[in-house]
Amino acid sequence: MTEVTRFTHGSRIPGWDEPVDPTKAAAVIPDLANTPVPTELREEIQAEMAKYPVFRSALIPALHAAQRVHGWCSPEAIEQVAAVMGITPGEVAAVATFYDMFETQPVGSQAIYVCTNISCSLRGGPKILEAMRAAADGDADFNIRAFECLGACDMAPMASVNGEFVGPLTESDCAQIVADLKSGGEVLAAKQLRVRPCADQAGRVDGGQTTTSEVTQ
């Protein structure tokens, strides 16, 4: 991946200091007939568009779908979304670059988001991030990112591994996660959010007849 040059004032946007050319043709909506789009992707985007009273609402779901197909929001993916939705690639790119979950550079297929926000950082989130990076050891297939609060502070420090929330993590869990992903198995099955009981006594199946320690045993 090439590093984008920083310009004098710190901008990474090439052409920021070039004047607009008023004679240039306006952005064109790519013609669906001439843009190759995988049939399944096209059908999925069209199904999403049908769900809303205004089709443009389907742009984020469409980008999710395109990213799943292409691995990232590549220029090609953006062109395809634009063609199916009948809007300009610029409008699609504007949205794709706004949201954290849309990748605007090629990335590895294993997405690991390590939370480093307040509650996780109080419990060692940044160390987990380091340990995760060390465990993956530069493997390009792993897309390890420091992420903002993922809404699972009860299991801090935590991470989202391909969408599966796991925690509380120790540094040794990180190697296990990487190994689990490489072998294609389930990730830290015992520490997944889906098996975590409610902290409140009233939430227990028996409405709080047992104490916390009894349940954890």
């Binding site: 706004f98 509650s119 609060c149 809404g151 009860d154 299991m155 889906r194 009233a202 028996d206």
Partner: protein, 434 residues
């Protein structure tokens, strides 16, 4: 304690419609559909329920702002839950999705909206799957779709996944995002109740607020209002996290002592550690110290203590942590999430991070602390939304309440990093380095 939202929520299969109905689910919907809309609105008003998303605006009043005219109206559930420290809606949606759906149908019927949306944050993959399945079940059972239970009322419900942006938890940012745009907040007024989604009147509420509606209808508004205390009716889900031994979601009656929540329910800090400060309502709330632990946990008491109940997320920080680290973590988060639309927020968050980095490395002077404080004051109230305020309030309160620690940190970091301890002599021309 009366559990309403969390009552046996761990019961296996509760996310399935059969189990939910066996436990009396969708009975409130039948009851509601048999009533006139005005009566339902009165029940919601009588309940005294205040919005659980952060602002605490009364639900009944908000619903009454939706015009009665025969135009397209919308109901939007804000499930973007991205305030650091908040994770209550996640547990509700994952374990009892039908309670939210039932609440939404009743709310939509009350304001006569025929289209509704759940905007769930993109990171909540499991919860989105659970909701998707629950919506399909509710459709199949005739609770959603055309002519619900023969009432003549029709409602369409679409689950919309976001893609990772804190700002989309702000209601107008959320609406723009739901329209397929960048999540930039809008100028208010007009408020969403008049001009919201697709320019139509829109009722937008948090997951917890909407999920409480079936209980209000079942119990009756005035009966629900007996829970909690005056001006803070009902139960509230509190997410306790940070340096506590039993972090998690707890359902409390409003008006409970904060100390009881932090120590009795969540176990307090580890053995030998003490509460240094705590955020009572998410990372956007002004911090309180150990001296405020006996404040009751309700809207008015928190406001009186100089903070807010917010989303009900208590983050406890113990005495092993540096206040500078916490301030920098917070400021960096808000800098990353600022959408860039308003200058005070975009620039204010950026410069606050830069100044706090100087504090951390020891390059700052005590005067920088004054500048940090003044920058926070200039952000508050000067933007379209409260994201800037959400950084300025806690960071400002940290600097105000822990100023000696900031100053001591600057001194020790300066010595540690060999930056010398003498600032430039007064006679020298000040060097402006940016």
């Amino acid at each position: 304690m009366s559990a309403i939202l969390f009552d046996r929520i761990d019961e296996p299969g509760l996310n399935d419609i059969d189990t939910y109905e066996r436990r009396g689910g969708y009975e409130a919907l039948r009851k509601a559909l048999a009533q006139p809309r005005e009566g339902l609105l009165e029940e919601l008003k009588a309940s005294g329920l205040r919005g659980r998303g952060g602002a605490g605006f009364p639900l009944g009043m908000k619903a009454s702002f939706i015009p009665g005219a025969d135009i397209d109206k919308y109901l939007v559930c804000n499930a973007d839950e991205s305030e650091p420290g908040t994770f209550k809606d996640r547990e509700l949606m994952q374990k009892n999705p039908h309670m939210l759906i039932e609440g939404m149908i009743i709310a939509a019927f009350t304001v006569d909206a025929n289209r509704s949306f759940i905007y769930i944050r993109g990171e909540y993959v499991l919860q989105a799957e659970v909701l998707e399945q629950a919506i399909a079940q509710a459709k199949a059972a005739g609770f959603l779709g055309d002519n619900i239970l023969g009432s003549g009322f029709s409602l369409d419900l679409v689950l919309h996944r976001g893609a990772g942006a804190y700002i989309c938890g702000e209601e107008t940012g959320l609406l723009d995002s739901l329209e397929g745009k960048r999540g930039n907040p809008r100028l208010k007024p007009p408020f969403p109740a008049n001009q919201g989604l697709f320019q139509g009147p829109t009722l937008i509420n948090n997951v917890e607020t909407l999920a409480t509606i079936p209980a209000i209808i079942r119990m009756g508004g005035s009966e629900y209002a007996k829970l909690g205390i005056e001006n803070s009716a009902g139960t509230k889900l509190v997410s306790v996290s940070g340096n506590v031994q039993r972090p998690g979601n707890y359902e409390i009656e409003l008006g409970m002592s904060s100390r009881d929540i932090i120590f009795d329910l969540a176990g307090g800090p580890d053995e030998g550690r003490e509460v240094k400060f705590w955020f009572p309502g998410g990372s956007s709330s002004s911090v309180l110290t150990a001296a405020d632990l006996d404040t009751t946990y309700d809207f008015d008491a928190m406001e009186k203590a100089g903070s807010m109940l917010g989303s009900g997320a208590i983050i406890v920080v113990d005495d092993s942590n540096s206040v500078v680290d916490v301030a920098l973590t917070l400021a960096s988060f808000y800098k990353h999430e600022s959408c860039g639309k308003c200058t005070p927020c975009r620039e204010g968050t950026t410069w606050t991070v830069k100044m706090l980095q100087r504090v951390q490395s020891g390059e700052a002077t005590p005067m920088d602390l004054d500048i940090i404080a003044s920058v926070q004051e200039q952000i508050i109230g000067n933007c379209l939304c409260v994201l800037g305020d959400a950084m300025a309030i806690p960071v400002g309160s940290l600097v105000a309440k822990f100023r000696p620690e900031f100053e001591a940190h600057i001194e020790s970091a300066r010595e540690r990093n060999g930056l010398g301890i003498t600032p430039p002599a007064a006679s020298e021309e000040p060097v402006l380095s940016l």
